[in-house]
């Protein structure tokens, strides 16, 4: 289960992607709250792909070091790109008649969040970690 790739083509792939994230978090002993945070953030980001780009890719992997286990999710597409990232990160701003809670919402759920976007390529990377218990 080192790396899981979910191809995003339709609405049910949103569910498959978030379930894959939840499963990995569960296997790596993340708390239920973190499993839910991760699944929700993946749901938001993969929906954006289906909605704005039509198709894309969601890659879920994890890394470990002495102190932390980190789950990293990359959601990318070859869609039109986000014209104004700063605006898209503002709560309540939406070009797609949503709540405008998707991007800022998923940022607040995750430890790390970054966006790279230009016409023809958008990649959002999120990560959540937990401390490895040594006691």
């Amino acid at each position: 289960m080192d790396t899981i790739t979910v191809e995003l083509y339709n609405q049910s792939d949103i569910i498959a992607a978030r379930q894959a994230g939840r499963d990995m978090a569960k296997k790596l002993d993340f708390k239920l709250a973190d499993q839910t945070r991760l699944a929700t953030a993946i749901s938001e980001l993969t929906r954006n792909v289906i909605k704005y780009a039509g198709k894309g890719l969601c890659t879920i992997r994890y890394t470990t070091d002495a102190n932390r286990i980190r789950i990293i999710v990359e959601v990318e597409d070859e869609g039109p790109g986000i014209p104004d990232i700063e605006k898209a990160m503002t709560y309540g701003f939406s070009t797609g008649n949503g709540l405008g809670a998707g991007l800022p919402g998923s940022r607040s759920l995750m430890h790390d969040f970054s966006i790279e976007s230009r016409p023809g390529f958008t990649k959002v990377t999120i990560a959540i970690f937990r401390r490895t218990q040594l006691n």
Binding site: I15, Q19, Q35, T36, A39, G98, P104, S108
Partner: protein
């Protein structure tokens, strides 16, 4: 997709299944409104115990469904929000769920009863 919406006296009971696609969620919304309209019910309890993930889209659908039902003159109670879902919704910012809620179906139905009775006793 077939979601049962049960009639119990003048109220309706329904439960949202887990992992609805966006399309299914909108179909659910439509089914609820049609059923309210057809049965002229005074209240509906929507159980969401099965929902393990509620993102902003799903939250909006739930919100909108409740608002629409209110417009039809029906009281709405959302029952059994998963604690992790509650936590996630609050962390995502703002109140995505602007609906009356209850811990479980039993309390939801009791609350619904109160709301309906209170509504009935308002003098004309």
């Amino acid at each position: 997709m077939k979601i049962p919406i049960l009639k119990l006296g003048d109220i309706l009971l329904t439960s949202m299944p887990e992992d609805l696609t966006d399309e299914d969620a909108l179909e659910f919304q439509n089914a609820v409104l049609e059923k309210i309209n057809k049965t002229e019910s005074n209240g509906i309890a929507i159980d969401v115990t099965a929902l393990e993930t509620v993102d902003s889209f799903m939250a909006r659908v739930i919100n909108d469904t409740a608002k629409m039902a209110k417009l039809l003159g029906t009281e709405v109670i959302l029952c059994g929000i998963n604690p992790q879902v509650a936590l996630t919704l609050v962390e995502m910012g703002r109140e995505l769920i602007g609906v009356k809620t209850a811990l479980n179906l039993e309390q939801g139905v009791t609350e619904l009863r109160k709301l309906i009775d209170a509504g009935n006793s308002i003098p004309e």
